[in-house]
Amino acid sequence: MNMMASGLVPLNLTVNGAPVGRMVAPRTTLADFLRTELELTATHVGCEMGACGACLVLLDGAPVHSCLVFAVQLEGAQVETVEGLVARGAIAGLQSAFHERNALQCGFCTPGMLVNAHALLERGGVPDRAEIRDALSGNYCRCTGYEAIVDAIEAAARAAQGSGR
């Protein structure tokens, strides 16, 4: 058994494909770990209680709220942030569709939207608008009114379909 004193705890995980080893305070959320320790500031914090979706990252491939996970829980895990998705070109289609459709204004919710949209499109096919809205049901956007985001995801899904992805 691995019982730790209340000081810092060693943590090893993979972030955006690269191994990361750090000593962390157990109370550090994944969101704070990414933002302050690794300076991956694209992951935003909007509520710290899993209600706004700004902090979504991929944990072992699935979107989760990085504000609702403590970093210490992730020994050996694979974490991918928007920076990682952008760097490996995984969301180029979404980025382009969001840009063309102006599916963002202040941009603060956008990383969470992109992570969720990416996971949705990874399932394959072209989701209908209700499915897209449902997938985004936990992602708060104060600026756009959502329609443009739905449009952009739909367009990206069609484009991906067309390109045989």
Binding site: M1, N2, M3, T29, G50, L68, A119, S137
Partner: protein, 285 residues
């Protein structure tokens, strides 16, 4: 909004987990998915000395058939209720309820065991344990024991689990060929806690409703079985009269809290409306 400092333990066995909890003299919390616990820690509504992470305990994992029961390990994620073929086949009420549980990202992390252990009276899965007649397998000082859902939910956030004990698995009686079911809820927004929600698991009996279990959530301090409504509906053709009778009977089954957004009389009304909708959804024919 940062949690108070705590120590972290990640035991490999139930015994070690229990020992870690005991070592903190009760000032500890177990964490599985953490989707309800972490906000409470962030707001410092809870501030345990030690957080005991159950994620490393193999005994809490897996979904498998054990005779007439489906054993769902406590660490099974909400999202698995949508995709796991065994759950879909044998515990369809869980699959029907899952899309209503919070949002996709929460479902990717939250666990069925965590939800049932917390026993939020407004949550979907605990109530479905009642509707399915599930049994909760609990690890305590005397080893493992199974508690039927009817005895498991005791009061607001109070279950048969004594502090320090661990919910190991949910055991669901597998659905027979003559079963039908319905789930629905009334929520302000997609993924919100429902104003009222419920599920029915019933047997078809030649166009009539056979044995059935009805459970509601957001209608009292615990998930609540609608026994009076069940009694009214048993043996009936699910027509308008039967529904009206059941709706009248339902009043005795529930004990809604009064709040400004959904006053108790409104909740009673909504529960009646929802019961009607659920019965009409049942594929009895």
């Amino acid at each position: 909004m940062k949690a108070r400092a705590f120590a972290y333990a990640r035991p490999r066995t139930l015994d070690d987990a229990h020992a870690a909890f005991a070592a903190a003299e009760g000032d500890a919390s177990y964490i599985s998915g953490g989707q309800s616990l972490v906000p409470a820690l962030a707001m410092r509504l809870q501030a345990p000395q030690v957080l005991v992470d159950l994620a490393g305990i193999e005994a809490l994992r897996g979904v498998r058939l054990e005779g007439d029961w489906l054993r769902i390990g406590a660490l099974t994620r909400h999202a698995d209720a949508l995709t796991d073929p065994l759950i879909r086949a044998h515990a369809p009420l869980l699959s029907a309820a899952a899309p209503f549980v919070a949002h996709p990202a929460i479902r990717n992390r939250g666990t069925l065991g965590g939800s049932v252990a917390l026993a939020d009276p407004a949550s979907e899965f605990p109530a479905m344990m009642l509707a399915m007649g599930a049994e909760m397998e609990i690890f305590g000082p005397e080893g493992l024991r199974r508690v039927p859902a009817d005895d498991y939910f005791q009061d607001l956030y109070q279950t048969a689990i004594v502090p320090g004990e661990i919910l190991v698995a949910l055991h669901v009686p597998v659905v027979g060929p003559r079963r039908c079911w319905a789930f629905d809820e009334l929520a302000r927004r997609r993924g919100d806690y429902a104003m009222v929600g419920g599920g029915i698991l019933a047997e078809r009996d030649g166009g009539r409703i056979g044995a059935l279990r009805i459970a509601f959530f957001s209608v009292g301090p615990t998930p609540m079985r609608a026994r009076a409504a069940e009694a009214v509906l048993t043996g009936r053709v699910p027509d308008a009269d039967a529904i009206a009778d059941a709706q009248r009977a339902l009043d005795a089954d529930i004990d809604p809290l009064d709040d400004e957004e959904v006053p108790a009389p409104m909740r009673r009304h909504l529960a009646r409306v929802l019961l009607g909708r659920l019965v009409r959804k049942l594929e009895i024919a």
